[in-house]
Amino acid sequence: NAGVTQTPKFRILKIGQSMTLQCTQDMNHNYMYWYRQDPGMGLKLIYYSVGAGITDKGEVPNGYNVSRSTTEDFPLRLELAAPSQTSVYFCASTPTPGDRGISSYNSPLHFGNGTRLTVT
């Protein structure tokens, strides 16, 4: 069980470039999330998904797009990179509600190791 896997670990982009941050989980979790972490700011939710084909905006979605074609994968797309998107990005997942009595509301997030992105 690899858990939540993110690639790449590091990336430097020039302003205006695009890229996709990959996230995959092998725990059959329906709920997946993208957070960004900025120094002194904690984590902010960018987008989340409650299942394949369903995505919704979080707190800071501008400049990002997501898709969820499979349960396992939840890629995050930056179309026109800006310096304000320099951050550490974390993907996370939680179990499916009702699965073995687990509620999505109190189950912990399983985080990936993060992607450190610099936009110059």
Binding site: Y35, G42, S104, P108, L109
Partner: protein
């Protein structure tokens, strides 16, 4: 919408000192509360959580937290810290209900334990 405040941004303690990190939240309804820890260079890991029952919850590595509903607080404590506790600690909350367990995180407290 809920919000979380962590008033201690950077705490420096000597080994064996006692620790208390403050966490206050604002939300009018029922909440679940979490503390996550991020060791240097690693991803966030769950330290402990509260969602119902005994307001004093115990987590891993000797940490505990007490939910005081009247004060909207969920402070993290440890009687005697170790050098290996050096990390960043995040308090988080989610509201009961809704379609997903979206967490609202505090800004974090960086704990530095000196030998």
């Amino acid at each position: 919408a809920q919000s979380v405040s962590q008033h201690n941004h950077h705490v420096i303690l000597s080994e064996a000192a006692s620790l208390e990190l403050g966490c206050n939240y604002s939300y009018g309804g029922t909440v679940n509360l979490f503390w996550y820890v991020q060791y240097p260079g690693q991803h966030l890991q769950l330290l402990l959580k509260y969602f119902s029952g005994d307001p004093l919850v115990k987590g891993i590595k000797g940490f505990e937290a007490e939910f005081i509903k009247s004060k909207f607080s969920f402070n993290l404590r440890k009687p005697s810290v170790q050098w290996s506790d050096t990390a960043e600690y995040f308090c988080a909350v989610n509201a009961r209900g809704g379609t997903a367990s979206k967490l609202t995180f505090g800004t974090g407290t960086r704990l530095q334990v000196t030998l």
